[in-house]
């Protein structure tokens, strides 16, 4: 080998050594995930821009683009505007605000950081919550000239609610109040006055100027009176919660891996605790137990696996486990319940309405759920508990939730992974809320169903019919009651047992306490649905004649009943025709504005998407329509053993 070649080999070897030394150093670094929050214009994005800039993490081409952007959208005159580094959306740069959370990455010799820069506007609170849900620390910014604002309180509260235990109170723009210690002390006192009850473990207040860099990565001569750490020193040194290996095993099953008949493994990420071959584990929902046979990974089987690892578990026994279930420690099991109390943050324009059905999703499980009782709303300013009938966009409340099937969970405060859930709108699939479970409600386990000897089938057999609900929906005056009455008369004449639940009549008795707001309409339908269900249980053919304007509630009733028991009949009469007929004179009043929340006028009607029967009424007689309903009943086997000739009444 030539001398030159030898030199090159040595050089390459030392580069490799240097890099591997560097990498093992990188490996040892801890990771801190934090977010910046606070009110609009408190300088959140500027602060992150400053951190990235001063830790030399801005590349030359990014700086060139920034200089360009600053001239176009900047708010600092001739200076570069650091906020433009993080406000990545066009709309954000144009309006000079942050709309959605941006994630940024930087590292120092001590730590790696993932920063979530979150929006300050109240309307984007859900994006702030998104950033907070995975953070270990929150920097709450306050403009030194403004002091504590509504959003300062809201964001501090949400950070606390989501389980963040470390807070930095960054009193920004201190340069604009002449670096005044008095101003700083006053703001800190104001903050402590309300934040002392929020359960933070560490709270560090730091005066700084993001724009000029005072106290951001190092101490500032302008703030000589301040003896605490600069922001970056604090972020590098704040103690982190390390995984508590004493926490009990929680292994939510994501999916069952079955490549062939000889292998059946449960894939998932360990939410807490550790697991090793030979350990006894219990299936949370069934209580069945087995032992861990193998912990399988691509890199070979493991002797032990810890919190945070994504693995595949093979058990000794063939027991039933599917997605949504959990493998858990036998001596410390999670709750399994279908009713629980939870804190809820609402994200949607459309208010949360108790009684309406949503999809509830945990890390791996999914069930239908309703909020059965909204106990109170939390006032963001005073943190007071306020009575409420619904939750609007960005509001926080405490409620009871009932799920169609039991789910396995822990209280959120003992496990963020197994104690959290989101709510999804059934029609739009939008994520409408996020919840943190407080505790299981025991009611579910104490109120058992009374097992009865005479059951639905025997009562139905006695009546020679199959019980069902005929659900007539449509605008007021569309002809629902007329058709329902005619059908009932005919059914009665052939010896069938029926009952009509009519909207107006029920509102005189059972539902006399309900008005016509959206919340009350939902409750109205829920009660009628439950009554109809009892009547079906009694063996009856129930004819329900209700405007029932919302798809969601009709679907809720459908789900209350067994397969084939709910027959939706859409009585389709155009609005103009209903208003022309106006049998009760209601349209005239509503159009004059004398009646509020009138369906079709100032309250929406959502037509069924797939009704069992779509009755277009215009140009047809009530008799023709009733005959169509009868055909439907025959097709669905509700009526049988009848004499054909008796049909032409």
């Amino acid at each position: 080998m030539s001398k030159l070649a030898q030199v090159e080999v040595t050089h390459a070897a030392s580069a490799a050594e240097e890099i591997s030394a560097y990498m093992s150093e990188q490996e040892k670094k801890s990771l801190l995930r934090f977010l910046t929050c606070g009110s609009v214009d408190d300088g959140k994005s500027t602060l992150i821009g400053r951190l990235l800039y001063d830790t030399k993490l801005i590349f030359e081409d990014q700086l060139a683009a920034l200089t360009n952007d600053s001239r176009k959208h900047g708010t600092n005159g001739e200076d570069i505007d650091l906020a433009l580094l993080v406000d990545g959306l066009e709309a954000e740069r144009e309006q000079g605000i942050t709309i959605d959370v941006a994630y940024r990455f930087f590292s120092t010799p001590k730590r790696k950081f993932i920063v979530a820069d979150t929006p300050g506007h109240e309307q984007y609170t859900r994006n702030m919550a998104t950033g907070a849900s995975t953070a270990d620390l929150a920097i709450v910014l306050v403009d030194a000239r403004q002091g504590i604002l509504r959003q300062t309180r809201r964001h501090s509260y949400i950070a606390s609610l989501l389980g963040i235990r470390n807070i930095v109170l960054a009193v920004n723009k201190i340069d604009l109040v002449d670096y005044s210690q008095d101003v700083f002390d006053r703001i800190v006192a104001d903050y402590q006055a309300f934040a002392s009850n929020l359960g933070f473990n560490t709270m560090q207040a730091i005066p700084l100027s993001a724009r000029f860099g005072d106290n951001v990565i190092g101490p500032s001569a302008n703030l000589a009176w301040y003896k605490g750490p600069a922001l970056l020193q604090h972020l590098e040194n704040v103690p982190l919660d390390s995984a508590d290996s004493a926490r009990p095993l929680r292994f939510p099953v994501q999916f069952v891996n079955r490549p062939n008949l000889d292998f059946r493994g449960f894939a998932g990420t360990i939410a807490s605790g550790t697991i090793a071959p030979g350990d006894e584990v219990v299936v949370a929902k069934s209580g069945k137990s087995s032992r861990v046979k193998r912990i399988v990974t691509w890199d070979g089987d493991l002797e032990v696996a810890h919190e945070g690892q994504a693995v595949t578990i093979v058990l000794e026994d063939e027991i039933e486990v599917s997605r949504g279930n959990m493998l858990v420690a036998p001596e410390a099991r999670p709750e399994v319940a279908d009713q629980f109390a939870a804190h809820l943050v609402w994200f949607a324009e459309h208010a949360l309405i108790p009684g309406r059905s949503y999809i509830l999703r945990t890390e791996t499980d999914q069930v239908t759920a309703t909020v059965t009782d909204l106990k109170y709303r939390v006032d963001i300013n005073s943190f007071a508990e306020v009575a409420a009938k619904s939750l609007d966009l960005n509001e926080v409340g405490v409620c009871n939730i009932s799920t169609q099937e039991p789910i396995a969970f822990d209280p959120y405060k003992s496990n963020r992974s197994t104690g959290s859930f989101i709510l999804i709108d059934r029609l739009t699939n939008a994520t409408v809320g996020a919840g943190m479970i407080d505790f299981a409600l025991r009611r579910a386990s104490n109120v058992h169903w009374q097992a009865l000897d005479v059951d639905k089938a025997s009562r139905a057999a006695q009546k020679d019919q199959k019980p069902a609900v005929l659900w007539f929906t449509g605008l007021s005056g569309s002809g629902k009651s007329t058709v329902a009455n005619l059908v009932e008369k005919r059914l009665s004449s052939i010896g069938k047992h029926t009952y009509i639940l009519d909207g107006d009549n029920v509102r005189h008795g059972l539902n006399r306490d309900l008005g016509f707001t959206e919340e009350d309409r939902v409750e109205n339908i829920r009660r009628v649905g439950e009554v109809a269900k009892l009547m079906v249980d009694a063996g009856l053919i129930v004819l329900v004649s209700f405007i029932s304007p919302f798809i969601t509630e009709r679907r809720m009733v459908r789900e209350l009943l067994g397969d084939g028991e709910f027959l939706e009949v859409f009585v389709d009469t155009p609005f103009e025709e209903c208003a022309r007929r106006d049998p009760k004179g209601l349209y005239a009043k509503a159009l004059r504005g004398d009646i509020k929340n009138f369906t079709g006028v100032d309250s929406p009607y959502e037509p069924p998407e797939n009704p069992e029967l779509h009755l277009k009424t215009v140009g047809r007689t009530a008799e023709e329509l009733a005959s169509e309903v009868e055909r439907l009943l025959v097709e669905h086997g509700v009526i049988f053993n009848y004499d054909q000739s008796s049909w032409s009444i």
């Binding site: 490996e27 990545g88 066009e90 959605d100 690892q309 959290s420």
Partner: protein, 301 residues
Amino acid sequence: MTKNLTHLQRLEAEAIHIFREVAATFSNPVMLYSIGKDSSVMLHLAMKAFYPAKPPFPFLHVDSTFKFREMITFRDSEAERLGFDLLVHSNQEGIEQGISPFVHGSNTHTHIMKTVALRQALDKYGFDAAFGGARRDEEKSRAKERIFSFRNAQHSWDPKNQRPEMWKIYNTRVAKGESIRVFPISNWTELDVWQYIMLEDIPIVPLYFAAERPVVERDGMLIMRDDERMKLLPGEVLQDRMVRFRTLGCYPLTGAVESDAATLPEIVSEMLVARTSERQGRMIDKDEAGSMEKKKREGYF
């Protein structure tokens, strides 16, 4: 926070969790395989996530017909080595019209041969979820994107109205025709990717390593002449220079950097002193301000 896991182990576990979540909740997912280093990492993670089974979805390569030849060779050898299900789609109308970045410019070429081609492929197979290897540290609008990023039936992204993404609970529900783009390595940085490739010994296209290659200086970038479709302009000289690529795409649109880094440790050490971001080598990002966001809204990955 787990004391036992390193930074990369945490990122790996997060990505595997995301891969499994998609396989468990979507009926027809696909992975977009672009052959670059991020795709190599994604492929490796997918193999890990479903071991001992194979990834339960196909890998789609949208071929603009202007990829580096070495990329295509590498793609086919990886499909052979790992036995995954490879689909290749090109926009046939674009080919018939002779769309080329040399004739029609980078914008038109990217739109027709990448964005439109991708939409065609997604529609053709009816995929309801598509994995991509985008990272949040790459570009400003990417930094804003969710890990599970919703697309309407027209494949477009509405950045002002993204679904909240709380904890590790992903809303994977879509109506017919809608889909979700999924980015399992959202939280990785370029350095993380290189460290992981090194640690796990993941094969990558040789173009990432420095070698003598025929390049031309054009519009301030070093463009490698990969085939005769690239004609030299007056005054341009083809020269062999020691170069490598930090990112790979269509060869006429991807700038090389001068470098001697011929091994992974050398690449990582070069990265550590780099003063430009990797997307600087991409022409499409520079055409206009907010250009990546605009392309994403149109359905680009």
